[in-house]
Amino acid sequence: MAVSIRTSLPLLPALVAQILGVSSVRAQDAFVQGQSTGLYIKVTSCVVSSVRDKSIQQDCTANASKFCDGVPRCELPIGLNLTDGRDIDPVGVPTVRRLGKVVVVEFQCGKTTERRGPNPQNNNATLILAC
């Protein structure tokens, strides 16, 4: 199970390793048994940005939070819903624009932080976020 874990906790490395090790074992146990970990999603960051011009960005944390905060698992649509129906960089022919914006979402499950993306902003795609 590949899990990207980032932490900024000011803890000793050994302690971090121990904590992460424990939470990883619990998560795996829960996965095997099909049980809830008792953790809930908190979206901490969601950004849609243009691939062509990285300075063009829109924060989508609020839109993503509406879908996913407070539940152990959610399926987050990553289309124009994240930018209030707006193409934030409508440059180029439509089919090339399909790859023109990417979405990066970060969320917490308890003390661990996970990251999804960059994925193309895509009205037909959803991300599965799960604790």
Partner: protein, 575 residues
């Protein structure tokens, strides 16, 4: 006067009554005669009839379509690129079913409908589309005209429909559009009808990509427009004529379903390719694919192969069997120009001779090291499906002589197998040429899809599938269902609207049984039908009466029972 008038009236009345009685009697006689005459006018030999081998092909595909998810036995090939791109074999199995459904047994759906659904499910299996994640990044793409690739090789381009990959989505579009046309069943328009589940890995978590038939159709057409009709790309920046052919035919069917005008895509693409010199209407030669700008697919368009005949440019008919839907005359002229050479190459065994140390196929990836036996076999597997395509092309052109020569070659050399009522040419990777110049190797694509579709195509069958679309009228016609396909094969199932006659023939299947049944659906409740079995009238079927071997069921359908020690033909004629 009054009395005379009364007498006269009585006489007139009596005369009228007598005439009326006589008329009724005469009408009754005429009615019987008319029924008998109508029944006699329905001759089962006038309707399409599938042979046991053809039914065997359908059984084989139906059984493979029911393999559990991830079980690809019967689909595998020695040609490694094809092993990772099963959509082609799956698609042509689906076309075989659609052709037989539309052309041969239109009044019997079960085995075809369920099997097409199964094959479309397989199109969504990770084994079929996961390779896109790699092709979308590198694959065969090189930097084009100083355009860096980094902007489009981000780790998230996994969605197999989003952009390019026409080699997958065109097939799904064409099969699903034809399915909806055949059955009036809109399941592929429901949200998430096509769901591609990315199960994680690569540190990017799980994702779902959901599409409908309309989503995919519009996605492709938009790519056609954006490229100024150069075409939708297979891999980023590479547009193959072949790969666009399925959706160019599928657009015709979609237009019928929705009243759109996407069917102009094929003609406009052809005009573009001719104008740019990629297709030559004088010699009927073509390049196999072109490259384009990544940022603007209508620019920097360059041919990536020389002009080639149909063996080189489209594996001897791969695109043509779709193009007949909108470009029949060109397809036929192309066939006639190349026929003799193609046929000769196959029948003499030259097609399967290794050419030098390196042997190249432009389709489905590059060159082969002919010192490596597996690579030689892989190269020859390509030639096997080339033989299959040419046979299908000949069949579609109605060239019975050529088709029969090629099928006879297959019968002699490809070790055809009967197995539980299934008939097919089993995969054989030994492509060595025997002392008579014959080859016995055959790839699954040819053995389980292309040769079967060629056998089933009586001429113009695919063109008819794309252009003679069904609608409400056909959906309301009588048809049969609930046949035990191992106990019996449905050789005929045709409703003749003009004669109001349903013609059914069952032949014995691989499992011997005394009796089989089928269910007749959508008969008109208030109508009487004359039931004829093997040329003999066995009775009238109506709500008031029915022959002994028929049973009215609570849902208004009629169950028909018959022995099946030999073929039996039923005709139900509306009175």
């Amino acid at each position: 006067m009054k009395l005379r008038h009364v007498c006269l009236l009585v006489s007139i009345a009596a005369l009228t009554m007598a005439t009326a009685v006589a008329s009724v009697a005469s009408a009754a006689g005429a009615s019987v005669t008319k029924e008998a005459r109508r029944s006699e006018l329905v001759n089962p030999v006038d309707y399409p009839r599938m042979t046991d081998k053809e039914i065997g092909h359908i059984r084989h595909i139906a059984r493979l379509s029911r393999n559990p998810p991830g079980d690809w036995s019967g689909f595998d090939t020695i040609y490694l690129p094809l092993q990772g791109e099963k959509m082609f074999v799956i698609a042509f199995m689906a076309y075989t079913l659609e052709l037989a459904q539309h052309e041969l047994t239109p009044a019997y759906h079960d085995i075809y409908k369920s099997s097409i659904e199964n094959l479309l499910k397989k199109m969504q299996h990770p084994d079929v589309w996961y390779s896109w994640m790699f092709e979308s990044r590198h694959g065969s793409v090189e930097t084009i005209k100083d355009e860096p690739m980094d902007w489009m090789t981000n780790p998230g381009w996994i969605d197999p429909i989003l952009k390019d990959n026409i080699q997958l989505k065109a097939y799904i579009q064409q099969i699903a559009a034809a399915y909806q046309m055949l059955y009036g069943d809109t399941r592929y328009e429901q949200p998430g009808a096509f769901t591609f589940k990315w199960t994680g890995g690569m540190s990017n978590g799980q994702m779902n990509f959901r599409y409908t038939l309309t989503d995919i159709t519009k996605n492709i057409y938009e790519e056609m427009v954006d490229s100024n009709f150069v075409g939708s790309a297979c891999e980023p920046g590479r547009v193959f004529w072949i790969c666009n052919a399925p959706s160019n035919a599928g657009f015709l069917i979609y237009d019928h379903l929705y009243g759109t005008h996407y069917g102009d895509a094929g003609p406009r693409m052809k005009a573009k390719w001719i104008k740019e010199g990629f297709r030559d209407p004088q010699t009927y030669m073509s390049v196999m694919f072109v490259s384009t700008s990544l940022r603007d697919p209508s620019t920097n368009v360059e041919p990536r192969t020389p002009m080639m005949d149909i063996a080189g440019s489209e594996e001897a008919g791969w695109a043509a069997v779709y193009n007949v839907g909108w470009d029949y005359d060109y397809s036929r002229a192309q066939y006639l120009v190349h026929r003799e050479k193609e046929l000769d190459e196959i029948l003499t065994g030259r097609l399967f001779k290794v050419q030098g140390d390196q042997d190249a196929s432009y389709a489905l990836a590059g060159s082969f090291d002919t010192k490596t036996p597996e690579e030689i076999a892989g190269r020859m597997a390509v030639r096997s499906f080339q033989m299959g395509f040419f046979t299908t092309y000949a069949a579609e052109m109605g060239d019975r002589e050529t088709k029969e020569k090629l099928l006879a070659y297959a019968e002699r050399n490809f070790h055809p197998r009967w197995e539980n009522g299934e008939y097919y040419y089993p995969r054989n990777d030994d492509y060595s040429i025997d002392e008579r110049g014959n080859v016995h190797g055959v790839d699954v694509w040819a053995g389980s899809a292309l040769l079967p579709i060629a056998r089933l195509d009586r001429g113009g069958g695919l063109r008819d599938l794309y252009t003679n679309q069904w609608g409400d009228k056909q959906y309301k016609q009588p048809y049969i269902s609930d046949v035990d396909t191992l106990a019996a094969g449905v050789s005929q199932a045709f409703y003749d609207e003009r004669k109001d006659a349903l013609v059914i023939t069952l032949i014995p299947g691989p499992i011997k049984t005394k009796e089989v049944s089928f269910v007749v659906r959508q008969l008109e409740p208030g109508k009487s039908y004359t039931v004829i079995k093997d040329g003999q009238t066995i009775g009238q079927l109506s709500l008031k009466q029915h022959p002994a071997s028929t049973i009215w069921q609570d849902d208004g359908t009629v169950k028909v029972l018959t022995s099946i020690n030999a073929p039996h033909t039923f005709v139900l004629v509306g009175n």
